[in-house]
Amino acid sequence: MPLLDIKNLTVEIDTGSEFVKALDKVSLTVEKGEIRALVGESGSGKSLIVSAVIGAVPDHWIITADRLTWKGQNLLAMSNEQRRIIMRREIAVVFQDPTSSLDPSATLRAQLEESIPEELLDKGMFWKRNKQRREIAIGLMHKVGIKNHEACMQRYPHEIATDIAQKFMIAMALVSEPELLIADDSTRSMESTTKNQILRLLSGLNETKNLSILFISHDLLAISSIAHTMTVLYCGQTVESGKVQDLHNRPLHPYTKALLDSAPSFQINLPPKSHLVSLQGTIPTLKHLPIGCRLGPRCPNARKECVKVPEQRMLHHHSYSCHFPLHLPIDEQLEKDQ
């Protein structure tokens, strides 16, 4: 059964005056040893899913879900204490902006050693344990690819480059040997060389340690290089999910198709000087979300029925939620409904 299983998760956030469904029936699963990519434009609620999973959500927001389980245990029903233990040993998170998620007034060494859990160290006097902590820390730094660890250890977060900080965040996440690593857009605003280093590091970890990764990004190139399965998100609704190859070859949902078309490197036969395909209109803001399928107003083959929220349908473990999927001609769909 899947490691992390999310079914019909709805999160209503408080925009100061009324509650808006930021996430509307999101479902997502991560298997053991699988790299699940979560794709969506910025502002589509990706980080909201992460904070819903780890519980860093203000108390007055309303979270309802059919299923939000971690290895079978329902996360919502758990007490803070149990949830904290899970977060400590089984799930690790790498946030978006590395420099702002490091304590500005503490040295990197102190922060790294602080995050090493007690259980890993064997008993003994505290100076032995501190020495052991330092060894583990240095080992970790080498593993994540920071060569001159001496220089970085004494420095403060605002004195190091962002990619080193990102590696540092990954090191801190891995120290407690988690089973699931949630990487929230960790390769954003990095030039390609460092981005490849990070991606190689993640896929290496997946193979060696069978570490399952929930990789959140809107950079399709990176996703296609390392992810096994992919889920596409639009304005808080899961649009399509399945294997990367299936989605790549035969996208069923118009939004996925538009998303793939918009990345030129994905086009096989792109004649020179041709117009890049892009969806008209812009992403609706939280206050004026359309009813039913949220792509409605911008969808090329939108019909009257799209006003109802499409439920999720499976096509041999390639699920999509759209009334008029691409593989079915439109008129055939019409008779079926009558």
């Binding site: 904070s51 780890i54 860093a56 904290r84 233990i85 977060m87 400590r88 040993r89 799930i91 690790a92 998170v93 946030f95 902006d97 702002s100 998620s101 490091l102 304590d103 500005p104 007034s105 503490a106 602080e114 995050s115 403060y156 977060p157 605002h158 004195e159 965040m169 801190m172 996440a173 407690s176």
Partner: protein
């Protein structure tokens, strides 16, 4: 670090020189005869005036006078007070420690009570305790210090009769002047009934310190509460939470230091409100401090005393502020080197 040190030393030197120049020029700005303003002695006869002018180098150029004034300041010959004809150095070395004692205890109280309450208020944001903390801090911040002192006197001294009303210690205890800090002097003195004197001095201390500490505690509570609330919203707190630390651990490991560092220089600035309140409270509790002494000096138009008293107090306050600012700047790696945070 070193150029930061040099930078602050230069700032200190520049400020203290400005203060000395101001206090030097005060002698000429004060009404009345400049010679009395400087020396404190009223020349009886004409030839005494000439002798005094030669002694105080009034006839020489302004720079020589200034140099002579600085040399006197350094050597401790601060002139004589106009009304009591006692050397100013002795008067100030008796009066200033008394005010210092009040200010130190008030600062300690504000730190030990203000900061924890501010933190608790900030962490339990929007909970009953937090509303209590906010109302307490806004209300006690707006008490005029002389009025709250009078209310304390009416309640604790006159109606209940628990606490004494004025002075530092009951004058029947003959405590020799040692360091000027009354509690220390009692401990060091060899008078027979020392512990009675100590208890009596403590009872004399309660009300003045409480009336000064009230306002500063309120200010500290506001500072810490705002700072911890901003800090708890930052990214690294969520990152720490995601690593499974409890809020208490997060607070002590990260929240405490990061929220205190930006507000330490602002707390140091509160020394000037503390000093003003101390001077006002001294006149009410007739505490023999520098505030009381300066205000009596102004009533008696004792210009040499005002001049030197002003210099001593402002040099102390300025040095204290700049050192605290330097310490906080040196030990806070994250903040921009030359900017000061606004609350």
């Amino acid at each position: 670090m070193i150029n930061l040190l040099l930078r602050y030393i230069n700032l200190m030197v520049v400020t203290i020189t400005t203060l000395v120049i101001i206090s030097f020029s005060l002698a000429y700005m004060f009404p009345g005869d400049t010679l009395t303003n400087i020396s404190g002695i009223v020349p009886q006869s004409e030839e005494q005036r000439i002798a005094l002018e030669a002694a105080f180098k009034l006839d020489r150029s302004i720079f020589v006078q200034f140099w002579y004034y600085v040399d006197n300041l350094v050597s401790g010959d601060w002139g004589v007070s106009f009304s009591s004809q006692i050397s100013l150095l002795d008067e100030i070395s008796i009066a200033f420690p008394a005010t210092l004692e009040l200010i130190i205890y008030a600062l300690l109280i504000s730190i030990c009570i203000g900061i924890p309450i501010g933190f608790i208020g900030g962490i339990w944001h929007h909970k009953p305790f937090d509303f209590g903390v906010v109302t307490f801090s806004v209300v006690s911040y707006s008490f005029p210090v002389f009025w709250i002192a009078l209310i304390f006197i009416t309640i604790f001294c006159l109606q209940l009769g628990y606490l004494p009303l004025s002075g530092r210690v009951n004058y029947l205890y003959d405590i020799p002047h040692n360091s000027g800090f009354i509690l220390w002097d009692i401990l060091v003195a060899d008078t027979p009934n020392k512990n009675d004197a100590f208890a009596d001095a403590l009872r004399h201390l309660i009300l003045p310190t409480a009336s000064i500490a009230l306002v500063t505690t309120a200010i500290f509570i506001r500072f810490t509460r705002h700072s911890i609330m901003d800090e708890m919203r930052k990214g690294y707190i969520d990152a720490a939470k995601s690593r499974g630390f409890t809020t208490r651990q997060i607070f002590f490991k990260h929240g405490l230091r990061n929220s205190l560092l930006p507000i330490i220089p602002l707390m140091a600035l509160q020394i000037s409100t503390l000093m003003t309140n101390a001077m006002v409270v001294e006149t009410i509790f007739s505490w023999p401090g520098i505030g009381n002494w300066l205000i009596q000096a102004i009533y008696q138009r004792d210009y040499p005393a005002i001049r030197i008293g002003m210099l001593v107090v402002s040099v102390f306050v300025v040095t204290f502020t700049i050192t605290i600012e330097f310490i906080s700047r040196a030990f806070d790696p994250a903040r921009d080197k030359f900017e000061r945070d606004a609350v």
